[in-house]
Amino acid sequence: MDPSLRIVPSSAPKTASVQDTSNSFGLHDTLRYGPRSLATEVQTTSAIKDRLENWEATQDNLKLTTLRNVYGLHAPVRLLMERKAVSYNPHMPARSTSNIHLDVLMGRDESVDCADFMMPSSELRQPLDIHAEMEKKLRM
């Protein structure tokens, strides 16, 4: 949680870049993705895209900061702790993950979004790369 009272996402450009093509050392993975290219490294910032992507997180953060200011640090800490406890997934990275408990805690258990009914998840799924997923998970 960021103790800030931002109402809308700020347009501050992030300097850290997380490459999609990075291996476990954080470098470009040539064996898997080929030589380095401009496409994977240049990041064009779009103000509206950043705003929309960070919208829900910013609103949630504002509420948590308000809770902190009114009740004390324990209030948001407990809520965040519950969310973390509920997000624990001991299984292998499986195809479909639905976390009802987390949805309930986040207050989205009674809402249906476009992604929930529009595209069958089988088409969205990238080719099974269990090894890469496990590596990412265990290096955490």
Binding site: L5, R6, V8, A47, I48
Partner: protein
């Protein structure tokens, strides 16, 4: 590459070009505002209520972007309700002012909001807090804001007296707003006022045709020569073709 600037009030966006004020008197405060909301030169709402309830005895006057000020007022209302539940008593105007100030300062790059918070609480009695664009907090006996306020600083400085009662203060607010509304294109409509005291909040309404009138130039028009004589003059000068 063309990037849209999401953060600023875009041209034509709904604007509270406005005249707002709040004045403290013996037993309470009087808050007042005009009622015009503009989108460019179109008056989107000519009977707007810019006096927003924040708590039982705390109201705020909003100027600047309509969306920004509504969003902030909602957040502060939510915050103060939680505080009331926690503490069991009404929050002070000082607390309300500080909550507004924190929001306005931290979001100053994205907001266009000038807010005046005023009310009554049992610790300080009546108080008025002015929060201009940058997000500073200033306690004042009287405060004016909005685009129309620039025209009436002189009038307010010359007229304001300490120790007024309710009726004198209401008149002061009515006259000031009337003058501002007659000079500022972005202010107009009706005058809405709230008188906030320990016992109650009283809403007052002054329709557009009952606004106090000041110099309107009628005596200037009388000095011009009457119409009949002008016609004679014109006939003498007629050119025969």
């Amino acid at each position: 590459m063309q990037t849209v600037d999401m953060q600023q009030l875009k041209s034509g966006e709904v604007n509270l070009g406005t005249s707002i004020m709040a004045v403290q008197f013996r037993d309470g405060v009087v808050v007042g505002a005009d009622s015009r909301t503009t989108t460019g030169s179109y008056i989107a709402n000519r009977v707007t209520d810019k006096l927003t309830h924040i708590h039982d005895r705390i109201y705020c006057c909003r100027s600047g972007s309509a969306a920004d000020t509504q969003a902030i007022a909602d957040i502060v209302h939510y915050h103060l309700q939680m505080l009331t539940q926690q503490s069991g008593e009404r929050p002070t105007v000082h607390i309300a002012g500080n909550v507004f100030q924190k929001l306005c300062y931290e979001n100053k790059d994205a907001l266009s909001a000038g807010i005046i918070v005023a009310g009554w609480d049992k610790d300080a009695g009546p108080s008025v807090y002015n929060i201009p664009l940058g997000g500073g907090l200033f306690r004042q006996p009287w405060a004016i804001g909005g685009s129309g306020s620039t025209y009436v600083y002189g009038y307010c400085d010359a007229t304001y007296q300490e120790g007024w009662g309710r009726d004198e203060t209401v008149n002061f607010v009515k006259n000031t707003l009337s003058l501002a509304m007659s000079r500022d294109g972005s202010s107009g409509g009706v005058i809405r006022m709230c008188v906030i005291t320990e016992d109650k909040v009283e809403r007052l309404f002054v329709p557009g045709n009952e606004l106090p009138k000041f110099w309107e130039g009628e005596e200037v028009l009388k000095l011009i020569a009457p119409v009949k004589k002008r016609h004679e003059f014109t006939d003498d000068m007629a050119v025969e073709v």
